[in-house]
Symmetry: C2
Subunit: 132 residues, 2 copies
């Protein structure tokens, strides 16, 4: 079979919802919100999430156990992700910085490990929360 080009029903439902909310959202919150579309069980959500992460349509914010739609150039850098996370309001933004991604892609550790993926999460205060 050729590489999948269209999403399956459940995958599309989950992706549509994640893109709509436009901020990191948790699996069970997704479940709650797509039940009217016929998705009934956690596994149906998790399976869709797994696939969507795999193909780069969404990313997982590991420190928050949450999922967010990819914003970068139509998902071409799904294996190289960077986020900024406000520790006060929990706002999360995907960082799109070619210099940073170039630097990290080319990073070589001392043990000679061959990287094919990375995830970077910055924490701090967003502009709004800094002022307060």
């Amino acid at each position: 079979m050729l590489k999948q080009e269209t999403l399956s029903k459940n995958q599309q439902i989950v992706l549509d919802y994640i893109e709509k909310v436009n901020e990191p959202i948790k699996a069970y919150s997704i479940l709650h919100n797509v039940q009217k579309k016929g998705i009934k069980a956690p596994l149906q959500v998790y399976r869709a999430l797994d696939k969507l992460v795999e193909i780069g349509k969404i990313h997982k914010i590991e420190s928050r156990n949450a999922f967010v739609a990819c914003k970068n150039s139509n998902c071409q850098i799904s294996k190289a992700t960077a986020f900024s996370i406000c520790e006060n309001c929990e706002e999360v933004s995907e960082i799109s910085d070619s210099k940073l991604s170039k630097y990290l892609k080319n990073f070589q550790d001392k043990a000679g490990m061959k990287f094919n993926k990375y995830n970077l999460e910055f924490f701090g205060l967003c502009k709004k929360c800094s002022i307060k």
Copy 2:
């Protein structure tokens, strides 16, 4: 009260165990292994872990929900962590690269966010697993 200088009983028990195993370990596995020392409940472990993370004695590997002792210059960079993770054998190493940490510490995102912490996880194949 001054900043804590000595660890409490449970904190010390948990830290001793994490340092002994010398690889990422999960909370419930810690619990299982320190029960002979009198720690009986998950919360006792999680509270110790929280504190140890806070003071930089250990780090959490977010993508694995596991904890590992800090290896870097006596834990001075606990707020700036970087790890390499082998996706085959799950070996995890803390990266100590002053150029990398300098680069990331000084990184400014476009939204003007002020960072005080970051966590970076690289994924790939370690030397051993690359050969196979």
